[in-house]
């Protein structure tokens, strides 16, 4: 895939990841809220849904969600550090740390399944 030259920068990738993770989370959120709302309207359906979600593939998807949440948050904190704290040139290392911390959180989550 031919990506525009300036788009191969690590920091552009950080921006894209932040935007895409935010979008994915924003789409997931109403679904998450409506499922939890089943506790009010249809508790049996909620229980059934939760039992279904114990399937390992769903667990993998949930691990992906945890990754997105963690990456969005650590990326966002990086951005705010950039904006409000004294300027430093360590932005790329911080971006890398953000992804690493996110992977770690997702890893913990997935480990919890086994």
């Amino acid at each position: 895939m031919r990506i525009a030259a300036h788009r191969r920068e690590a920091l552009w990738f950080a921006f894209a990841l932040h935007r895409l993770s935010g979008l994915a989370l924003a789409i997931f959120l109403p679904v998450h809220f409506l499922v939890l709302g089943l506790a009010l309207s249809d508790p049996a359906a909620l229980d059934g849904f939760l039992k279904w979600s114990n399937h390992p593939l769903v667990g993998l998807a949930e691990g992906g969600l945890v990754f997105l949440l963690a990456v969005h948050m650590f990326g966002g904190l990086r951005l705010m550090a950039l904006e409000f704290l004294p300027w430093s040139d360590r932005q790329k290392s911080l971006a890398a740390f953000a992804v690493a911390a996110a992977l770690f959180a997702a890893g913990l989550f997935l480990l919890g399944l086994f």
């Binding site: 525009a4 920068e9 920091l11 552009w12 921006f15 950039l82 904006e83 300027w87 932005q91």
Partner: protein, 242 residues
């Protein structure tokens, strides 16, 4: 025995405001050749009607800025051997600006936004008064000095994805200059300027991708300047002064 001159395959965008396409030329390689040398050679030997801009050709004026292999650069300061991918070059006009013809971009929108950002000095003293004393290493002056070397070449503007995504965004150069003035104690228009740069097309549009800093030929960091404007605007808003 004559040595065969190696050739460069150069694709140059030819066109007008209504559209255009890349035309390929074979250009003889030379030692220490710059991309500006390549464009000039094409104009002199192959395409006399090729439109392009340059002036000082020594990296001081910024007139020769073009898109080279996808990145905005000063062509007089870009050595071919540093950028030619397997003997191939692709040269186009700067992104985010309307095209006049071929490699010439219309810089009017860039300079108009400079004015919209109120990025011009508003004097407060007259010749009848003593000049204002500025402490050279004060935090404000240091901040202004770090951003003051901008020569309005529009490379950062072309590199900025936020400008591409929002045509109303004032852009890194105008905001960078506004920041230097916000840090200038002699300036009398700081309150008005803050409103201009914190508004709809202002500093909130910057997503800190730092494409500007990565491409600025003078090593400036408009993202840092814009972060400074964000801080100023946030503080002013909380104090009810915005």
């Amino acid at each position: 025995m004559q040595k065969e001159t190696p050739l460069l395959e150069v694709a140059i965008w030819r066109g007008s405001p209504t559209g255009g396409a890349f035309t390929t030329y074979s250009v003889p390689r030379q030692d220490s050749q710059t991309v500006l040398d390549v464009v000039s050679w094409v104009q002199r030997n192959r395409a006399p009607d090729l439109a392009y801009r340059f002036a000082c050709r020594v990296g001081m004026c910024g007139s020769c800025a073009m898109t080279v292999n996808g990145r905005p650069r000063w062509t007089c300061r870009t050595h071919v051997e540093k950028v030619a991918n397997a003997g191939r070059l692709e040269i186009a006009p700067l992104r985010n600006l309307p095209v006049v013809r071929d490699l010439v971009a219309d810089l009017d929108p860039f300079f108009d936004k400079w004015q919209t950002a109120e990025a011009r000095f508003a004097p407060t003293r007259t010749r009848a008064e003593e000049p204002e004393r500025i402490v050279p290493d004060s935090p404000e002056r240091s901040a202004a000095n770090a951003a003051i070397e901008c020569i309005n070449c529009a490379v950062c503007y072309a590199a900025c994805d936020a400008v591409a995504l929002n045509p109303a965004y004032l852009g890194p150069a105008a905001l960078n200059r506004a920041w230097t003035l916000q840090n200038d104690s002699r300036d009398g228009a700081r309150a008005e300027r803050l409103k201009a740069v914190a508004g709809d097309g202002g500093c909130g549009n910057c997503h800190s991708q730092q494409g500007c800093a990565a491409h600025c030929p003078n090593g400036l960091n408009p993202t840092a300047s814009i972060a400074g404007l964000k801080r100023m605007a946030a503080r002013a808003l909380l104090k009810g002064r915005l």
